[in-house]
């Protein structure tokens, strides 16, 4: 495949596939450490304080200390919990999050698996997370966990619908579901990005409101799917203690933790792919070599991770019924209308 330089270098053998699979894993681990530090530091920045300062210079190796700590914590399985499911859930949740990384590109020369249904696939594997959360929450045998798990599951499957509508709209605009196809359809300057109507004549600017609506629908929906504020009801501290991971400790908790951060990157990467031109440089061919493309992609995705962290420390939390109201009565009609508008644009183009 031309979109995976490792396969080109090493040929089509098992080692090439292993290396291809290992790179996202390393990326997830490094990214999670950065994101954990980012969360602490951004929280501190928003809240007018310093944040961790005593672990390395300005506390930058704080996440390492946390991982070291979590590794040696006692691993508690509550006596009344359902042990097989309780112990399986963290692995399933991490599998679900990590599976999405298979199709997330880094640059035009490296997409671990450039399958034809890329965005659709990301969307599908996220349902593993739902099941795993239900599994963990139920197996904990704790009412807070069950409440958190049920809330989480209902929230995630509800918000799948508006987000999938915006994915369909983008597919209609780009005529493909593959990640590389969608990104290539936005190549060139930044006004070719899907957020600004994709490539095409000036008539596309008439449809920008629809795309903006879709963008907002997708962004809000992705916040809900990643359980981030203002939709962090499943783990809302003030109501249900820790939500579905109340009873988890040590590395099993760390896996939930990692999966949450991995999910944040996945949804940010999806926004980047679908609306912001993916790895394309905003300035045409300027700084558009494969290495720079990796920079652009990760920078765009990380900026959305940043926005998610920022929102977390700014907004209060919504209530369960308000959450459903937003989903079914606001976002779904808006997404439908926009879908029709975008389809019109697709026809015109």
């Amino acid at each position: 495949m031309e979109s995976n330089f490792i396969l080109e270098l090493l040929g089509n053998n098992i080692w090439a596939y292993l290396i291809t699979a290992a790179i996202p894993l390393v990326f997830v681990v490094v990214y999670a450490l950065v994101a954990i530090l980012g969360e602490l530091k951004i929280a501190s920045w928003v809240q007018d304080r310093l944040g961790p300062m005593r672990t390395g210079p300005w506390g930058i190796i704080q996440p390492v200390a946390e991982v070291v700590k979590l590794l040696q914590k006692e691993d508690i399985t509550p006596r009344n919990a359902n042990k097989p499911l309780f112990n399986t859930a963290p692995f399933v949740v991490f599998t679900g999050s990590f599976a999405a990384f298979a199709v997330i590109p880094y640059s035009s020369k490296f997409i671990p698996a450039d399958i034809n249904l890329g965005v659709f696939y990301i969307f599908a594997v996220s349902s593993f997370t739902v099941i795993a959360i239900l599994m963990g929450g139920w197996a904990s045998n704790n009412k807070y966990s069950v409440l958190g798990a049920v809330r989480s599951a209902s929230q995630m499957i509800s918000y799948e619908i508006p987000t999938s509508l915006s994915i369909i709209a983008i597919a209609a605009l780009s005529n493909t579901l593959s990640v590389s196809g969608i990104i290539n359809s936005q190549s060139g300057w930044f006004w070719n990005w899907n957020l600004l109507g994709g490539q095409g004549s000036a008539i596309k600017y008439l449809f920008i409101p629809f795309l903006l609506v879709l963008f907002i629908v997708y962004f809000v929906g992705s916040l809900a799917e990643a359980n981030r504020t203002p939709f962090d009801i499943p783990e809302g501290e003030s109501e249900i203690v820790g939500g579905y991971h109340t009873e988890y400790s040590s590395m099993k908790f760390a896996m939930f933790y990692f999966a949450e951060y991995a999910n944040m990157y996945v949804v940010s990467a999806m926004i980047t792919i679908m609306f912001l031109g993916g790895w394309n440089s905003p300035f045409g061919d300027f700084m558009n070599s494969p290495i720079w493309q990796a920079f652009w992609f990760i920078a765009k995705a990380m900026s959305f991770v940043f926005v998610q962290l920022w929102l977390r420390w700014t907004l209060p939390r919504v209530r369960v019924d308000q959450l459903m109201h937003i989903c079914w009565k606001v976002m779904l009609p808006a997404a439908f209308v926009s879908l029709i508008g975008i389809s019109l644009l697709g026809v015109i183009k």
């Binding site: 499911l85 034809n116 659709f120 696939y121 045998n141 069950v146 499957i157 799948e160």
Partner: protein, 167 residues
């Protein structure tokens, strides 16, 4: 043994073991979560059969939709705080007789499959079936497609109505 075969046997094993888990497990929740692996394995089999769209749809609808619904159903109809929700099985006689019946069924099926002269001819590898599916759905099967859409709509309205009527 090439990689396709390894993958087939791995997925087949996953499917069979987890399906047995579904059927033989005495705890409802175990059955439900075993079903997750069955669906996952079937999705893998679809990928082997070059049905990539179906594989993704399988995961999305079965895992993300149907399984969640089933788990909700279990949670609503059993005591959730009670971890040991028994699925309830019939007596030994029925157990034995149904085992025999299904074994016979299985043997008959295998015999049929092996003796039938299937008209098998393979075509070269095709990367995606998405465009073919789309074309077929909107041309040859467009009526069925709309019927399915209406069926879904009616089913969901009906489901909401039935569930609401209780009490």
């Amino acid at each position: 043994m090439n990689i396709i075969e390894i993958v087939f046997y791995v997925f087949a094993l996953i499917i069979i073991v987890s399906a047995m888990g579904v059927v033989f497990s005495h705890k409802l929740m175990y059955s439900a979560f075993s079903l997750l692996f069955t669906f996952f394995g079937v999705a893998g089999i679809y990928v082997l059969l070059n049905a990539d769209f179906l594989a993704v749809v399988q995961i999305m609808i079965y895992v993300g939709g149907i399984l969640v619904l089933i788990i909700f159903g279990i949670m609503l109809t059993t005591k959730v705080t009670d971890v040991e929700s028994i699925s309830g099985s019939t007596g030994k006689l029925i157990y034995l007789s149904s085992a025999i019946v299904s074994a016979i069924l299985f043997l008959v099926l295998v015999y049929m499959f092996n003796t039938s002269n299937w008209n098998v001819y393979t075509t070269p590898y095709r990367e995606t079936t998405l465009d073919m599916l789309g074309n077929a759905l909107l041309t040859k099967y467009v009526l069925t497609f709309f019927m399915a859409a209406i069926l879904l709509l009616v089913a969901f309205i009906g489901a909401a109505f039935i569930a609401k009527k209780g009490k």
